[in-house]
Amino acid sequence: MCGIVGLFLKDKALEPRLGELLTDMLITMSDRGPDSAGIAVYPGAHEGLAKLTVQADDPARFEGLGAAMSRALGADVALRVKDTHAVIDLPADKVAEARAALKSLCPEARVMSAGEAIEIYKEVGLPGDVAKRFDIPHLTGSHGIGHTRMATESAVTTLGAHPFSTGMDQCLVHNGSLSNHNSLRRKLAREGVSVETENDTEVAAAYLTWKMQEGHSLGEALESGLEDLDGFYTFVVGTKDGFGVVRDPIACKPAVMAETDQYVAFGSEYRALVNLPGIEDARVWEPEPATVYFWKH
């Protein structure tokens, strides 16, 4: 069991409340996944800029990292530390260079996400505590997805928590378990796509990234996932300007969606949606099995 929440805002007036609304939804899903929690948000891109979200168990490791990175890249870099995570703002054309530099400047740091808009925060612990540590209620953005984890396929660690990001501005959360993730991991390795953890969900995320690198849209990648991913899953995915949902054909893992003029929302259970503005008049439905749903700004 795990809990998933997602919110894709259509009404810009709600953007300052994204973190607050997602946190409330996430905490409601605590009893579906008390091990770990995580959230991905898209606060909007700035022309020519990108960002890396990095994690280190000891935040003291981030001291001086901003200045060191700036020197290594020969460009302006800003570093914002939030508990065990830090967001590094840097020129968009320096992402690959920054990833390489990070390995020597701060070997303990792991990259959680890279992209023009995405930021990911995830840790072991109760969802309410994780949200507090990263001050998630004050995050703003156009869309975001969150996950509460009850681990089944790999250990309870920060890196095993969701969301997973395997491509620029992409992220994925999962409720379920995949049964062919080892063979798929080997297949992806042959295609040059590396997966960092033992986690099954990361393989699914990497699979979608690979399909998109091959030139497919996210919708098409999700469609082919229905053929190639074996197991139980409800996935919610995010891209820079999009938000998608797909369930496996058996559809054991619960899912409820709600749509109004202001937003599209996803919850593992209806409980997660009850505090959203205007939910009383929202169109509420259960997404169909083996059907790809996708929204774009």
Partner: protein, 225 residues
């Protein structure tokens, strides 16, 4: 009518109060407000109560019901009226997966759609769905009636033992050992009565009947893998 605020007083108090009602109680009419998708609302009732839940419910609403009528003025989460023994459960909106699972008796009415596995392993319950049902509905059904006024998804009645399945719309596919059967006058009678009790205006003659081909009753070596 007694009014119970679930948010203010909690689930345990609600179920204890309702379960404590004697069969001769005069306090039969109850209203539950602020359900907010909570799980296990009004479960294990065993008195002729009439409980109205004002909003949508989470998992297992009205599970194991006996005698009582439970009305959900919203949609129901997974496993509504699971293992119902008798009484009536009416869902005004949609029902999530395995509605009425393993039910032994009583009537479950869903005025919207039901999703997958509606009536799985039903054992005597009657289920009337005004809309559609999802895949694997009436899987391993043993007894009772499932009436679908809309369409049925894949593998309807897979591995069915007995039970009558009535569908007015399209059936995407039939499951193993489920076949269309002749609709005789006795079946039209049963269907007319069920539609009438569910308050659904539909003509029994527009439905088709499905049931067990009874070919899985005995071991057949050709069915072994």
């Amino acid at each position: 009518m007694q009014r119970f605020d679930l948010e203010a007083n909690g689930l345990r108090a609600l179920n204890e109060t309702l379960q404590a009602q004697e069969s001769q109680t005069n306090e039969t009419a109850w209203e539950v407000v602020n359900p907010r998708g909570s799980h296990a609302i009004a479960v294990g009732l065993d008195a002729p109560l009439d409980v109205t839940v004002r909003g949508s419910t989470g998992y297992y609403c009205a599970g194991m019901n006996q005698q009582a009528t439970v009305r959900i003025k919203g949609s129901a989460g997974p496993g509504v009226a699971e293992n119902m023994m008798s009484g009536t459960v009416v869902v005004d909106g949609d029902a999530s997966q395995y509605a009425g699972a393993t039910g032994h008796g009583g009537l479950l009415v869903i005025k919207g759609n039901a999703s997958s596995r509606c009536g799985i392993s039903m054992k005597g319950i009657d289920i009337v769905v005004a809309g559609n049902v999802g895949h694997m509905s009436a899987f391993m059904a043993q007894k009772g009636n499932l009436v679908v006024c809309g369409d049925a998804g894949d593998a309807l009645g897979d591995s069915i033992y007995e039970a009558r399945l009535f569908v007015r719309g399209e059936v995407r596919s039939l499951g193993a050992d489920c076949e269309e059967k002749e609709m005789r006058e006795e079946h039209l009678e049963i269907l007319r009565d069920l539609l009438d009790r569910a308050g659904i205006d539909a003509r029994p003659e527009e439905f088709r009947r499905y049931g067990s081909a009874r070919k899985l009753y005995n071991f057949d070596i050709d069915n072994a893998y």
